[in-house]
């Protein structure tokens, strides 16, 4: 484990410890913004392996978030609520329920399983075709969720999921996700991911099979997308098919792109930047009064500003604020060690 990794893990543990106090000391609003930032950061980081590192740019990631949210919702709904909310639930699902942690884990596994089935064919594509095809996956998930009434209530709001996602839980999962993704990204598997992005032929020449390599990144990302979806479900307690469609897709992608596609610290940075910017602009766009000068509300201005920032990044820093790099801490004892592996956190 490199020094940088050790420091990051240390920071994560300290923040996690602090979060237990923060949730009681900070105003509820700040706690909420931090919690949703952690959930979104986990989701954005889970896009990094496939979208950033292997170069398979999926637009369907939110489809996995939906699978995770619905799986966790169905599993953790108390039995009595199940009876009134989902009267047509198949018997094998109706009579029992799981608590928060197990339902989250199962949701992650279910989502990963879906990713194996979906990814096997889709990852044979590349470039814009894989993007359009994964967008298709998103539409397909949406339509199945809308029509699978007995499991999902169709287009009606799915509600009654216990509100369990607290700041320590969200941050805890973010730390776990980042450690897991970071360890794998700096392992031979992670180097293989990047090799398939840089040069498929060269990668094959040294024995890296494109398909299974990309699939591993895709499935790992989907697992944490499922976890993130479960956290989302337990955070709001209610959601519907349209919660997981193009708008959310755009939000997550803008976070990933602005932070830097191939990097986990970039994913976190992008999420923080976009969330902070949106929160500030959301309050500014309500209009202002400077005595004589009053600016009328311009609802939607915050989205336009976000879009402009997005384009500016594409033009000026197409690899995002951090690009493929990670934020690193120089190693005092042996400075050379940090240079050979450019992407390890």
């Amino acid at each position: 484990m490199s020094r940088t990794q050790t420091i990051w893990i240390g920071i994560g543990v300290v923040l996690l410890a602090l979060s237990f106090f923060a949730q009681n000391l900070l105003p509820d609003y700040a706690v909420r913004v931090l919690t949703i930032t952690c959930i979104n950061a986990l989701l954005v980081a889970s896009m990094a392996p496939a979208n950033g590192m292997t170069g398979v740019f999926s637009l369907g990631h939110v489809g996995f978030v939906a699978v995770g949210a619905y799986a966790a919702g169905i599993l953790s709904l108390p039995v009595a609520t199940k009876g009134s909310m989902l009267p047509d639930l198949p018997g094998w699902l109706a009579g029992w329920y799981l608590s928060f942690l197990p339902s989250t884990l199962v949701a992650g596994c279910v989502t990963a399983a879906v990713a194996i089935v979906v990814g096997a064919p889709l990852l044979r594509l590349s470039g814009h075709f894989v993007s359009v095809a994964t967008l298709g996956f998103l539409v397909i998930v949406n339509e199945i969720v809308i029509n699978a009434d007995s499991l999902t209530r169709g287009a009606r709001t799915f509600t009654g999921v216990p509100l369990e996602t607290t700041l320590p839980w969200a941050l805890g999962w973010l730390v776990v996700g980042l450690i897991a993704l970071g360890r794998i990204a700096s392992s031979p598997t992670g180097r293989a991911w990047r090799a398939t992005r840089e040069d498929v032929v060269a990668a094959r020449a040294i024995g890296i099979e494109t398909q299974p390599t990309r699939l591993s990144a895709f499935v790992l990302g989907a697992f944490f997308a499922g976890i993130g979806g479960a956290l989302y479900a337990h955070y709001l307690g209610s959601f519907s098919p349209k919660s997981f469609l193009f708008a959310y897709t755009f939000t997550l992608i803008s976070m990933l792109v602005i932070g830097g596609m191939g990097s986990l610290s970039g994913a976190v940075l992008g999420t923080v930047v976009v969330t902070a910017l949106s929160e500030v602009l959301r309050n500014l766009e309500r209009g202002m009064d400077f005595g004589a000068l009053s600016i009328p509300p311009l609802y939607g201005a915050s989205q336009i500003a976000l879009g402009l920032l997005f384009i500016a990044i594409m033009i000026l820093r197409p690899e995002g604020l951090l690009g493929p790099r990670e934020i690193r801490f120089p190693n005092a004892r042996s400075p050379k060690e940090t240079t050979h592996d450019s992407a390890a956190p």
Binding site: Y29, R32, T159, Y235, L236, S238, R282, M288, Y299, G300
Partner: protein, 388 residues
């Protein structure tokens, strides 16, 4: 930055209030989160405009309890996580008498637990799922009837007055409102002795229903009427395409039809269309309604886009009435007063809450179209209302 400044200002205002200096002019704050942008904005924005209009009228007439009303408007972007953040920002950002907002369950349910915990009553003008208040708790109120009431009213009208024995049921399957409306209609219509001879779906955003329409035309047994659960954005096109295809049976639906688009896009295709809604809102309606339409047009340079504009207007009336009866802007007292609302005359009908039921008992109005003009077809209090 601004947040800090706002907090400072609020703190300042609060201390001033304590000194008793500015108490009289201190506004009564009402939270008003709405989805002004994003997928739901075509429904939420008119509701907010209606609410703003009523607040302006009340303030022009001297306010409530001698204090002006102030809407704390936030755009929640049609995103439930933003709704939750805004809700806690509102709850933590100074005293609120009550909150109003939203036209969909997703947003109301994301906000609900936060306002419930803070004990602040919240009235939604347009989230018409009748289950909503019970899903949240004793702080959540609807200003409109539940979809089960209007669907049942539509069903009885179709069965008893149009004498239609068999109906074809078409719905937009992409929205909660249309899904619920279709479900409740079917339950009430079958109960009333009618038969549903076929179902079909479309998706809001498809601008062609010709394939579905041709299918209905080719059916061996012809429906006596067609019930279509549609959103306001689509309804003009829906009736127009049915009529262009030569399907002339009556078309019936819910308050989604209550938009000028029904006549402007539907044209003469809108003839023989009937819909259940909150009140007869046409230009030849009652005096308050005519005044509302005129004032709305003056403020927004357009006629009310759909029924939510009038519901937003009445929601503010409902909250203002409760504050007045509570004699205070204390949210707990406002909540009690809201729950005890009896016979409040709004432009969308008379609002009363039965004890423990936070969905008002309102009579559904059935409006018809004849010679490209709206007319009041019936007032229906359904005898059977499907369970929410």
């Amino acid at each position: 930055m601004t947040l800090l400044r706002r907090e400072l200002l609020l703190g300042l205002a609060a201390s001033l209030a304590l000194m008793g200096a500015a108490l009289a002019a201190d506004p009564i704050r009402i939270a008003a989160p709405f989805n002004v942008t994003g997928g739901l904005s075509s429904l939420d924005a008119p509701a907010l405009n209606g609410a703003k209009l009523k607040v302006a009228e009340i303030n022009a007439a001297g306010g409530v309890l001698g204090r002006p009303l102030e809407l704390e408007v936030f755009d929640t972007k049609s995103d439930a996580t933003t709704v939750a953040s805004v809700a806690s920002q509102l709850v933590g950002g100074g005293k609120l008498a009550a909150g109003i907002g939203f036209t969909d369950s997703d947003s109301a349910l994301a906000l609900g637990p936060i306002f419930q915990k803070a004990g602040i009553p919240f009235v939604t003008p347009g989230a018409t799922s009748p289950k909503l208040p019970d899903q949240v708790g004793d702080t959540m109120f609807l200003a409109c009837f539940g979809d089960n009431v209007q669907a049942a009213a539509g069903a009885e009208f179709v069965r008893d007055q149009l004498k239609a024995k068999q109906v074809f049921l078409l719905r937009d399957n992409s929205a909660e409102y249309t899904t619920l409306l279709a479900k409740y209609f079917e339950a009430a219509y079958v109960k009333a002795g009618g038969t549903i001879i076929g179902h079909d779906d479309y998706k809001s955003g498809d601008k062609s229903l010709t394939a579905q329409i041709t299918k209905i035309k080719a059916m061996a047994t012809k429906p006596d009427a067609i019930y279509i659960a549609a959103n306001p954005d689509d309804i003009g096109l829906v009736v127009k395409q049915f009529r262009q295809a030569g399907v002339m049976q009556p078309i019936i639906g819910g308050d989604g039809y209550d938009t000028p688009l029904l006549l402007s896009v539907g044209g003469k295709g809108a003839n023989d269309v009937y819909f259940s809604t909150h009140a007869y809102m046409a230009a030849d309606g009652t005096k308050p309604i005519q005044a509302f339409i005129k004032a709305y047009n003056a403020a927004n340079k357009t006629d009310p886009e759909n029924a939510f504009a009038a519901l937003g207007y009445d929601t503010v009336a409902l909250v203002a009435d409760a504050i007045k009866r509570a004699g205070s802007d204390d949210p707990a007292k406002v909540k009690e007063a809201l729950a005890a609302t009896k016979g409040l005359e709004g432009i969308t009908g008379t609002i009363s809450f039965r004890p423990g039921v936070r969905v008002p008992d309102k009579t559904a109005t059935i409006i018809g179209v004849k010679d490209e003009k709206l007319f009041l077809a019936a007032q229906v209090t359904p005898s059977f209302v499907p369970a929410p």
